[in-house]
Amino acid sequence: MPESAWGWLIVTYLFLAGAGAGAFVSAVACDLLAPDWSKTLARAGSLAAGPLVAVGTACLVLDLEAGLWQPWRQFYLVSNLSSMITWGVIILSLFIPVAFLYAAALNELTVVGRYARKYLRHLEVVGGFLAVATAGYTGVLIAVVNGVPFWNTPAMPVLFMASAMSTGLAVAMIGAAIIDITTIRTMSSFALGHVIFLSVEGLVLMLLIFLSLTRSVEAAASATMLISGSLSPYFWALVVIVGIVVPYVLSIVEYYEYGKMHKALVVGADLCVLVGGMSLRALIVFSGVAPHIV
């Protein structure tokens, strides 16, 4: 019998949509709250957000079958408001253009950007709302699935949201280092963001595992697969150590050693967060176990 229908394309989509939405939120937060800390981070975040979400959405479309080779069928995708995919299509269709427009406005790219610059605050408010909706919806998408008990918990959107914010911040920080390597000294202020998001992610992940172990037989089977079963090497190495512990420690050091940490370590911490974020999505999707029916 078929067990799981979703593969790497959906995993990549969940990761990229989260990272793109997080990068947008990082850019908006940086531009609104701390414009004097780093203009580069806001620019990098805004430039990364649209393309990341767009590529993620392309993965989602590539995973379709009849909808891919008969694209007009995709118009039906907004038919059922009780489906999270319908909501996802609406949110993505609004967020992707707003994200590109925001990137153009913040960086004053092309005529459109110079015109949109006048509405920067509006774009930040609307786009911020849509970005949070995008990051949250990727979690709700799988949390409403009662065909996979491990996913079927309100902890899932919270976990995905925390992971989206930390991977988005990592994207913005790596982007800032690429745009202007000298800005890396000022990045230390943002390391606090990693500390907060990774703490939340770690705590929620722990709660999810502990609660799943007692919630139902199937959820326990998934959680066991992650902590001591066939997927456990990947879970402990990629999600826990590389994805959470290492960048968490590095970010604390970075925050206290303001501006003195080696730039390879600053960028390294962010790359670790990205590896962890992708691994988290993959392991959660692949550890899904169907209800025992007989």
């Binding site: 019998m1 009849a66 909808g67 008969q70 907004v78 999270m84 995919i85 699935v145 209800p291 029916i293």
Partner: protein, 180 residues
């Protein structure tokens, strides 16, 4: 309007898979595609032990999770209570496969859509019964109108207090089981 359902007596099932083959023939499926399966459950300890064969197919749930998650509205319930797929609307996103607790939906890669048991709606409309029901050598399945208290299926369910699979999932299936 009748509301169709099936009662399955697992105490009679010998695990011969003829329901699966009949279904494949009736629906024109390939050898590796199937709309019904026989799950096996071992129970007891030596010397008192046995194996139970549990035929599984689309449960035609009254609160079908596949129907509520389908973004294109391709999944609908017919007036007779049969959960059907609108082949022209399905995009193949496979969300319904994830949502179905019974995991009885498959992808038809040729058409690029998700397909499943449709209770042989073509045969039933002409007054017949689904192929899995008529082909079974030990008459494990009883097909009929669940709304008619005098139908064979309703009588069987009432007599043996047949239950759907995993009623706790609140999907309210229309396939009932008498278990060994």
């Amino acid at each position: 309007m009748p509301h169709y359902g099936i009662a399955i007596d697992t105490t009679k099932c010998i695990g011969c898979h003829s329901c699966r083959v009949a279904c494949q023939n009736q629906q024109g499926l390939k050898y590796d595609q199937s709309f019904n399966w026989i799950k096996e459950r071992e129970q007891g300890r030596f010397p008192a032990f046995g194996k139970e064969f549990v035929p599984v197919q689309c449960n035609h749930c009254q609160d079908a999770p596949c129907q509520s998650v389908c973004p294109t509205g391709a999944i609908y319930t017919s007036p007779e209570g049969i959960v059907l797929v609108h082949r022209e609307r399905c995009v193949g996103c496979k969300y319904c496969i994830e949502a179905c607790p019974y995991k009885v939906r498959i992808v038809d890669h040729h058409e690029g859509i998700v397909v499943k048991c449709w209770l042989c709606h073509d045969l039933v409309a002409k007054g017949g019964e689904p192929a899995c029901v008529t082909t079974c050598p030990t008459q494990v399945r009883i097909f009929g109108d669940l709304d008619d208290p005098n139908s064979r299926v309703s009588q069987f369910i009432a007599k043996h207090r047949a239950q759907p699979l995993r009623p706790d999932l609140n999907t309210r299936p229309r396939i009932y089981y008498k278990r060994s």
